[in-house]
Amino acid sequence: MYEDLIGPFLRYGFMQRALFGSLVLSVSCAPIGVFLMLRRMSLTGDAMAHAILPGAAVGFVLFGLQIVPMTIGGLIVGLLVALGSGIVSRFTVQKEDASLAAFYLISLAVGVLLVSWKGSSVDLMHVLFGSVLALNDAALTLIVGVAVITFLALAVFWRALVAECLDPLFLRSVSRIGTPVHLIFLTLVVLNLVGGFQALGTLLSVGLMMLPAAASRFWTNEVRAMCVIAIVIAAISSVSGLLLSYHASLPSGPAIILTAGVIYAVSALVGTRGMLPTALTSRRHKTA
């Protein structure tokens, strides 16, 4: 038992790197996911994840499968899409969901076109689904950097993020910080997705962001606690997903996300704010 759980991480360098990378990602992505969920932007993360593809593809076409150019490309295109859709929705009647859908669909089409033009379907699979087992030093450095930036930004802008979610009109009446904070937040989303895509691929990096966050909602009604619970769920998913992938020879990215999915399903059922406790509440009640 001990051998099965700890052994792979002790024996193999690539497993240690995978563990380290996915744990740091968990700590960084999960709180961002919580805020995405609270701002009803859960699907925005997904759209942004698709949107970074052409940037990564340009890096890939020019430099091959290398982390630095692909990351920079993804970052630039991700920010362009986030800013573009944000600007369209702020200055026209179109809501952000529609403008974002338009931007990311264009982006995704360009991305797939670029990768299939220069690469093989194997390359496309790699970009789309990543490989946490092949994290090199550059990728790990990037992930740690993203996590540090995320935590600093969250610490500084926490109060503004909460106010912007809870009562945006109030925030606008007392401060001009609303719009900058929104843009900073979108930047953090893109940074975390870019940080995650080498490990999990563009399609699944959003999974480590949203699934633990969505699951945490079933356990608490307090933002800080939600972030902590989401981080714990993401970390558990990372460790068990890696072990599952090692022992059952499954691809690691989907294994991690699927584990998070199982935790989500269980939380939805038996979480303190989940379905069963709500349905089974006894008829006894307090008088006041």
Partner: protein, 269 residues
Amino acid sequence: MSNTCLEFRNLTLGYQGHAAVHHLSGGVQRGSLTAVVGANGSGKSTLLKGIAGILKPISGACVPGFRRLAYLAQQSELDRTFPARVIDLVSLGYWQKRGLLGRLTAADKIRLSTCLDAVGLTGFEKRPLDSLSGGQMQRALFARTMLQDADLILLDEPFNAVDARTIADLIVVIKGWVAEGRTVLCVLHDYVLVRDHFPETLLIARKPVAWGATSDVMTSENLRKARSFQEAWDEEAGWCEDDAGREGQTCGHDHHTHLPRQHKIAGHV
């Protein structure tokens, strides 16, 4: 310091070129309590948003003579499912004083408790927002407004979906603010409340219909006038070109910064 807390100079506010509040001029006296009355869509909320700086004027200006402003939007603008406690919501009232990073001092926390007590929410600090009734929510928002310590307070339909007892309690709070010398503008629909408690009234229907002492403003003739205005936008509406003429009439100031701009007139009252 002048005795005017807020001055409108030919203020026109609206959305995408369509005026929602038309050519409003006049001043709000420091320490006055004014009701803003009008039908749905008459531009009341738009006016408050304009004063709060959330909406930029199409033309004209809203000249501030106040030190700090507190704006309480309609309750529906707030996300009540957000996982926050009463204390989290109320302490947002310290934003102007403490900013993004400033920590709340022990004195701040004591004052917060005092304010919660003043609105009858003692012991509600840790209650989640989604467990509050409409009246309790409004009480919490009043406590937040209190913490803002503003000299101009804007309230947008604070008594919507609130029971009589809560209204009575909150009216006491509002009168307390006025007694402290603060200026209050309050949007409301209940004419009885307006006549009983608000000395001044601004009656609008896209443009000012009457403004002054409540008994002079709330006449049946004025109210009839205020009811019959065109609520829908009219793409065919003509351009309002009387900026230059009106400015000369309404106030004798120079407007170096003001550029006359066109906006559509939806219809005439």
